[in-house]
Every structure is written in structure tokens, then in C-alpha cells.
Symmetry: C2
Subunit: 306 residues, 2 copies
């Protein structure tokens, strides 16, 4: 089964204490679509300018990503520039130029509206609503969000929560959204506001998954010796998670399926941060993913039998 991925497509400039690279492929849709494509067919919805390199389009195509929903319009592609501090955990945005993204209206091409799995990447909640207005009976809808929308568009975000099956956000955002310091209390409050499932990302410390009837999964982070560029880790996580769910094609999503989806999302993200932009995903294989999944599982087991 396919997964519909909507979000931003950008050309990034990224600076870390070690390296600086410009004109990199970036944006939530780029990361999430390519990550999801390792597991399931992807219907991409996004917008780029006529300066967008053909090589990136070819890269998406090589990953069997359907580009009927990619709008290529006159003007410049969305540009983001950011810098990471020495610990690679703190990031400062140096500049944003929305360019053609400013007039983005996500319009689903024929056939997309019946995609069963929907991943609403981290964009303005009104755009996320606009996509939901077009899809028909989706089986599972996941939305990503960020501090910007929590602060600037709280009402639209609140209404979004009632229309989705799962919200993904990071720990500081969960606290910001609920004004609770305890993540357990924050999770209960968010789930009461709508989504049956909630995933709280804790960066290098892993992720927490919450479901109905007190269902809970605590996933550690895959330990990495060398992180080169954390950009897109969250989007890659969400894409891998959604892609795995779509690949299962279950009538009803179970908590145990989501458990594995969170781990696979973490595995994809752990690979992605090993290089700038989507470079590591270019060479990644299904065997790499399976291998790291098994290693990760072994190193997280409380008891090893045999």
C-alpha cells in the first residue's frame, strides 16, 4: 500500500563545527519520502521552483517516488540555512527564504486522494488541513509538527489533533504544547485532545510511543559514534515509520506494529545523520536496514535467551 507524503522541499545550506555545505537537497518531504520509499510506494506532494536541479528529481524517481504531486513553478525553490553548535544538538536558523513555497497549495492529483496512509510533514497546519480535506477515508493519518506552529497557530493545530491518528513531535514541543514538565502527563493530555497514538522524539535519547489503554513503548536511540549532520533526522524517522506501516497493509494498525515502526524509523534516522543532506540514504540498502534493526534489537533486550 502507498503512503502520501506532504511537506516542504528545500535547498539547504548547513554548517556544523566541522564542515559547511551549500545547495543541499532538504525539506521535510524529501527526507520523509525517500525514507518511506525503502518500505512502500510513495505519493509525493510538494512544490519547487524552476531552479530545482533535475538530479534531485531523478533521485526521487530512482526511489520509485510518484511525482504527479510535485508542482514545478516559475521562481526559486524554498531555501533554508542553519548552523549547528559544537554538540550538534543545538541549531540556529541563519536564514529562510520561502520563495515559491509561500504560495504552496497542496493539490492532490487524480488517484492520490485514496492513498490509505498519509504523512503530513512538518508544515503550516492549514496546509495539513487542506490535504486532509482532499483525502478519502484514509486508514492512518500521521502528522508531524514543531514549536513554530504550537506558538503561532495553536487553534489550527488543536483542530488538526482531532483529525489525525498519530502525532509526532519532540519532547520540548510536547512540554510546550501542554505546559506539563512530565512527558507522561503531557502525553495523556495530547492524546485526550485527539490522536489515539502519540510519538515523542527525544533526539539522541530515543523515542516514546503512547497508545490507547495505557499502551506504552520506550525506544532507546541507536548509539552513534560520529554524527555529521542531524538535519532531517525527525523527517526521516517519520518517513520510515509511515513507510513500514504502509508495507504491512493491515486493516487495523496494532500497537505492536507501531512499536516496530518506531524502531525502523529510528534506524533510518540513525543512518541519515551519518552524512550531510540525504547522502547516506542514497547508498543505503534494505540489508543495511535489516542488519541495524537486528543489532539495535539485541542491544535493547533486557534478557537474552540462549
Amino acid at each position: 500500500m502507498s503512503v502520501l507524503v506532504v511537506g516542504s522541499i528545500a535547498l539547504d545550506n548547513v554548517k556544523t563545527p566541522i564542515e559547511e555545505h551549500s545547495d543541499l537537497l532538504g525539506g521535510s518531504t524529501s527526507y520523509a519520502s525517500v525514507a518511506a520509499s525503502f518500505f512502500a510506494p510513495v505519493n509525493l506532494v510538494g512544490i519547487v521552483g524552476d531552479d530545482f536541479p533535475q538530479a534531485h528529481i531523478d533521485f526521487f524517481k530512482k526511489h520509485n517516488i510518484d511525482l504527479a504531486g510535485l508542482q514545478i513553478v516559475p521562481g526559486k525553490t524554498f531555501r533554508w540555512s542553519g548552523e549547528y553548535m559544537w554538540d550538534l544538538n543545538t541549531r540556529e536558523t541563519r536564514s529562510i527564504a520561502l520563495n515559491v513555497f509561500e504560495s504552496f497549495e497542496p493539490k492532490l492529483p487524480a488517484g492520490y486522494e485514496s492513498t490509505p496512509y498519509v504523512l503530513l510533514g512538518n508544515i503550516h497546519p492549514s496546509l495539513q488541513h487542506h490535504v486532509l480535506d482532499q483525502v478519502k477515508n484514509p486508514r492512518f493519518v500521521i502528522a508531524d509538527t514543531m514549536d513554530l506552529w504550537i506558538n503561532n497557530t495553536p487553534e489550527e493545530l488543536k483542530r488538526l489533533l482531532t483529525r489525525i491518528d498519530m502525532l509526532i513531535l519532540n519532547d520540548s514541543e510536547a512540554r510546550m504544547l501542554t505546559k506539563q514538565t512530565s512527558l507522561i502527563k503531557a502525553a495523556a493530555q495530547i492524546r485526550n485532545a485527539g490522536p489515539a497514538y502519540l510519538c515523542i522524539k527525544k533526539g539522541e535519547h530515543g523515542a516514546l510511543l503512547f497508545g490507547p489503554e495505557g499502551q506504552f513503548f520506550s525506544c532507546g536511540a541507536y548509539p552513534l559514534e560520529d554524527i555529521h549532520d542531524p538535519t532531517g533526522a525527525g523527517d526521516t524517522f517519520a518517513g520510515g515509520l509511515a513507510g513500514h506501516l504502509a508495507s504491512l497493509n493491515h486493516e487495523k494498525i496494532s500497537f505492536d506494529s507501531l512499536r516496530k515502526a518506531v524502531v525502523l524509523g529510528s534506524v533510518l534516522a540513525s543512518y541519515n545523520v551519518e552524512a550531510f543532506s540525504l547522502e547516506r540514504l542514497r547508498t543505503l540498502t534494505k540489508a543495511d536496514i535489516d542488519g541495524r534493526y537486528q543489532t539495535f534489537k539485541r542491544m535493547s533486550q533486557f534478557e537474552v535467551i540462549g
Copy 2:
């Protein structure tokens, strides 16, 4: 088999944003001994003044903690006073009065020197050395330490690393000790300096366990809705861990035993922070520990069979 626990015994004043309590039982030996006592007999080594309440001594006795190594001397018991910030993660020491602890010389009473498991609680490395000079062929020696000794007594700490089987410290201390930001690199460096095993505590984010030949275990933290007092969490963790190892009475400690020991240490610590001082440990039962261990195991499983 028994475990020898050495460290500080204190009377604490603790302030959180919610409550303040004074004259509480505290100190690394108190927490670690009582935690270990749920699993194995404990030989305690410590010092208190003649103002130390008999009720605390009775509490230790009730937990079958051997007190032949408890020195009760004229003067005042070690006093510590601290305050936690709003998130309960940041702590400020308001005052320390070493009192009788200043002249503490840990002298092992007859019989203690052959205790097979040794937990060197967080005290001056020279005192930890002094204990090791007295024990005979211990099976497994664990040492806890802190930023104070990393900064003030680096040479004594360095030499201690060559005499122990396992070091326990927290993530910021591992980075401080090695000047590495990557915990994976820090762990390799510490293990190269001596201990075969290393446990890095990450507070609310769990713990990492490192062993020979790349053996690695990532343990999440047990999620808590209400934390009342984090004091002694690390000591309780170390005590539970050491107690479980002693209870197994294995000739050689395996990585899988240590894996379970880390989880049980986490379970004990998760209970301890639910109340001030050692209050929660007073009412804790073996059934409580087993119950939370099973819950914790379930919520950390990558795949649930059946």
C-alpha cells in the same frame, strides 16, 4: 553471597519546588545498602556521629544489613543540604558539613575482607583505594564516582580505574573525564583505562552498559509521572545493581547478568524517587520490584510475540 558497601552516611536537608524536608536519612551508603539488601546480604562500612538517630540504625537492621563496619564516633554526622530547580534535573548544593566524615578511615571488621562483591560508593578515591587494600580476591568490584573527584583527584581516580571491574558515572561526567562529546568514544576511552565494564547513567533517559568485545546494552528509563525527590537515585541504582549480581553468585559475571542488573538498578531507582529520602524503600516489597521489572521489560520490547 554478600556485597560490601562503602560510602557516606548523611543527614540531609532537601528542598524541591514543592516541598522541603530536613534531617532526612541520606548518603551514598544508606541508599546503596538498603537497595542491595532486597537481593543479597549487605556488609556496610561507614561512619556517623553520636547524634545519628537510633531509628535509622534500626531501619538498617530490619533490612538485615550487617553493621559491624559502622563506626559511631563522638561528634556530628555528615550533613548535606541541597535544592532542586523546577525541572528536578538541576541541583544546587546549599551547604556541606563533613563533621565526623572528615576523619573517616574505612576499616573493615573481621570477616568483611573476604566479601566477594564490593561496591565503592561515591566518596574520595583515596578512601576507595583504602578499602581495596583490605579486601582479598574480590570477585567483582564496582566503583561510583562524580565530577568532584574527576576534577580534584584525577591521578587517584586514574589509578582506581585499573583496580576495578566496573565504573558507574553519569553522562556529563563521562564527557568530563574523557573530553569526548560522543559517549561511545568516551566509553571506549574509559574502558581502555581499566574497567572491563562501564555503566553511563543518563538520568531520566536511562543508562548505557559497555563491556568487552563491543558488548553494549541500552536501557531506557522507567517513565515516571511524579518525581518527588531525585536524591540518591544514582546510589540506589548502584546498590540494586550490585545486590542482584551478588544474589546470582556466578563464578564469572556475564554481560547478560549485568544487563538484568542494570534494569533492576533502574527499577529500584524509579521507586526511590517517588518519595523523599529512603521513604519509598521502607514499604517496597520484592513483589513490587518483580512487577515493575516485568512492566518495564514489556514496554521496552521491540517485538512482542504472542
